[in-house]
Structures are given as structure tokens and as C-alpha cells.
Symmetry: C2
């Protein structure tokens, strides 16, 4: 989960997502709309009997706030939280598991704020079952999945992986840039990402307001997307002054065609 | 406002209630379902430009939690909060304004917890306009509204308030007892209240569970209502284990007839 505003639990329920399946939570910064739902979510996980440890990533202060609230509610969670305090000034890998690496993206906001870059690791070669000899040893299947040929005792190729496997599926990357001013220093970090979420609080006509409040306009978000040559751009975090969102999308598309409003509940799927 | 769980802002919106009209917020205790919506509400009031001071009443720790969150979001609210820390062990008057007095009700919960008794002050006598002489001085009208006769220079009755006014409307009282075990010591405090909200987390068949978690059963809530001779009883805070709520209401009604489920969004109106 990335950021956790108030009433996130209601949204999880609405979209039939199970809180207990969440293993990692990444919080970009400590403005309320990005983390005020966290304490309630952690409590619910506790009340529902969670035992599975949770990894939590966020800026300085997040764990202090949670700890204080647990103290006054006299609660000892029945699962462990491993908290990683993010240095919001540097780009670094903060999380790694068998599928994904997560990197920070230093953003330029009114308070310390970090985006997150999710990079899928290279995937396994895909076995072509019809071609596979029967009862092949698991070690040989593993070798093929890793893109290696299987050799016989004489060091000759016994199974050529090009015949027994198809190349791995593409590994995708997703960059999440929550609240930030227009900031070109993120471009090398997110370069070539398949999908970029970039805040787009204002229209370009309110550029002064955007700059003063450390936010971006739709055109600025699209400019970052274009310069970083990403696959597609999702726009969000719109000022409540805009009743209609089409103008924000249109403004972005005038710079970067594959731009979309990140509508609540809408799924954007990355695929080959 | 009394207690402020997560997503209270959404509920205010749903029922067309204006956050900016709230002048006083009373928090009974620091379990999440009673206060996690407060920080977001305070932030929204700020972002909407509130200048009107707010009075906040709650147990030790509440202001510390808010202050810490304001610190990390680097926010200085543009309105003042006057915080009154509640002593949850003693029954005392914590708030008074021209209409209402508010008293604490010490409750017996797992952490420090206080209910609130709202007592309307005596109301003014109601002027009978048809009987009133034209162009009567305001001071004389005020005297009549206070239930006083207006005297002439000789100390004789010029205007008998019984002719010019009707008696005041009844002053109502409402007792709110959030999370508590069955606790007879609250009875003298809430004695004769027109309306009592009392938690009713469990059915009597789960009385052990109620006692262990410092909660009450529907029968216990009704017993308190009966012994305190209140006008009507509202039941709430039901365990999620109960899909149907009628059995809770029925159990309460077997002890105290005028008992009702405090359904979300339902209005209960006190009137003569």
C-alpha cells in the first residue's frame, strides 16, 4: 500500500481488498491526506487477529505518532511492525523482496516528502510444457527457468533453453510521485518507467499558486512524464476548486498524450 | 460534537452538517473509534479558512497527539483551540455557555474514559405577543422573559408576567455514556435524564466477554436506564459479531421499554 489517507479502510472494503494481505506500507509524507488512515488500519489489523509482521516505510515522525497513539490507547499490537525511516533527501533502495525492489524518489514539497519507485525484478523464463521431457528433475527445470541450458556429463547441451522455454515476461516499473513542485531532478530516477503517477493539483493558469504551495500543474506533470519518457501518466491530487477534471487531463495531453485521470476505483493494468 | 471516529468528515457531509458550525468537541477516550477522525477534521477546518476558536475537551494525551501531528505536518492552525483536559475520575462541570452546561460522567473502561451529561439551562419565559402593549421598552420585555413582573413607580404590578408570557419550554438533558462496563455509580449523575445513550456492545449471553473487555450488554444498559429513570435509551457500539440488531433492542426492551437502536443517520428529537 502506498499512502493511507483517512477512511482508507472504507475504500478497501468498497473495492473488496483485504487489509490482512497487505505486507508493506509506504508513506510519502506526514500531511494528513497521506497518512491519517494508517492508525485505524493498524488497529483493525490488530483487532482482526493479525499475526503477520508488517513492514512500514515513512519519514521521520511517523513511528513516533503511531507509538504515542498506541500508548494512550494502551494497545500492544499482536503483530510486529518493522519501521524503516526514510531519508527523503536521497535516492536509495529501501525495500527488496523476491519480486520487487522499491526506491525512494526525493520530492520537493513543503515538508519532507518522498515518492516511491517500484521495480519488478527480472522474471523467470517460462517453461513450454509441451516440449518438456517427462519426469525431468526439478534442478533441471530450475536451470531452464533461469535461462540456462542443461548440460550432460560431457558438458554438451542436453536441453537448449531456447527450445524449452519462452523468454520471461517483461518486468514493469511504477513511479509514484505524491506531493511535489515541478522538480526535474527526479527525471533520471524515473526515466523509462512504465507508469508514472504524478500529482497534478492545479491547472497551469494557477501556476503561482502551485509553486507557492509546493504542488504541480497538469502541464508540469506531463512535462516530467515526457522528459522521463515514461509509458503512461496518471494524474491525481486535484484541488477541490476544479469541479470538472477533463481540463486537467486535456492540459496534460497537450504535452504528453498517454495521460489519464486516476479516478477513484479505476484500475490501470500494466501488461505486455 | 461528541466523539469523532475515523471518516466523521464523510458522515458530516452525508448528513449535510457544516463542520465550521461546530464550536465544541468532546472526546470520551483515546480508543481509535472515538477520536481518529479528529485530526482530519481539525485540518479541514483550517484549510477551509476557519478563524472561529474551537473548544476541545478530552482526556490526557489528546492534545499531545494533535500537537505532534501538527508539528510533523508543519501546520499552525489559523484558529485557536482551547483544550480542557478532563479528569475522567471525577464528576464535574467542564463547560458552560448561555444554553448548556456539560458535566463529566466517570466511566469504567479499559483506559481513562468519560461520558458527558448535557444539561440545558432554564429557558426564558415565552412572550405572548398578542397581549403585549405596543412599543414596550426592551428592559421590560427582558424582565417578563425572566419571569419577573414589571412594576410601576409605586412598586405596583404594571405587567403581570403570567398574562404576558407562557412558561418556558422544558430544559432537556442528554447523557452520553460511550464505552463502559456496567457501572451503577453513574446512576445518580444521570438520574432523570431525558435521553441516555449507553453503549451496548454485547448481548447478555456474552456477558463474560463484555466484562473482560470493559463493555456492557444490552440488558445492562437497560438496567442502568431503568434505575436512573431516564426518558429514553439509545443503544449503540455493537460488536460486529451481531449481523442483526433487533435482538439487542429486544433484550433491552425486556428491562426498559423505551429503548432504541441508535441507527446511523437517524434523528432522535427531544420535545415537550
Amino acid at each position: 500500500m502506498v499512502d493511507c489517507g483517512e477512511a482508507t479502510q472504507l475504500q478497501l472494503k468498497r473495492y473488496h481488498l483485504k487489509a490482512q494481505k497487505i505486507k508493506n506500507i509506504f508513506i510519502s509524507h506526514l500531511h494528513g491526506d497521506h497518512y491519517l488512515g494508517l492508525m485505524g488500519l493498524l488497529s483493525t489489523m490488530h483487532l482482526m487477529g493479525r499475526k503477520t509482521p508488517l513492514k512500514l516505510y515513512g519519514p521521520k515522525g511517523l513511528m513516533e505518532i503511531i507509538t504515542l497513539q498506541l500508548k494512550y490507547s494502551d494497545t500492544v499490537l499482536n503483530y510486529d511492525i518493522t519501521f524503516t525511516e526514510i531519508d527523503t533527501e536521497t535516492h536509495q533502495c529501501i525495500h527488496e523482496d523476491p519480486q520487487v525492489e522499491v526506491y525512494t524518489i526525493p520530492l520537493d514539497h513543503r515538508i519532507p516528502c518522498s515518492g516511491f519507485l517500484f521495480k519488478e525484478k527480472p522474471k523467470k523464463f517460462r517453461i513450454v510444457k509441451d516440449n518438456l521431457p517427462e519426469n525431468l528433475e526439478i534442478s533441471k527445470i530450475q536451470a531452464l527457468k533461469n535461462g540456462q541450458d542443461v548440460l550432460n556429463e560431457n558438458g554438451e547441451i542436453e536441453l537448449d533453453h531456447r527450445f524449452y522455454t519462452k523468454p520471461p515476461r517483461k518486468s514493469f516499473s511504477y513511479a509514484y510521485c505524491s506531493d511535489t513542485k515541478y522538480n526535474e531532478s527526479i527525471i533520471p530516477i524515473i526515466q523509462g518507467s512504465d507508469m508514472l503517477y504524478h500529482e497534478s493539483t492545479f491547472l497551469d493558469e494557477h501556476m503561482d499558486r502551485a509553486s507557492n504551495t509546493y504542488h504541480s500543474t497538469a502541464r508540469e506533470a506531463a512535462t516530467i512524464a515526457k522528459k522521463a519518457n515514461v509509458g503512461q501518466l496518471l494524474l491525481g491530487h486535484f484541488s477541490v476548486r476544479y469541479k470538472a477534471l477533463e481540463p486537467l487531463q486535456e492540459e496534460a495531453r497537450s504535452v504528453f498524450e498517454n495521460a489519464h485521470i486516476a479516478e477513484e476505483g479505476k484500475e490501470f493494468i500494466l501488461h505486455d
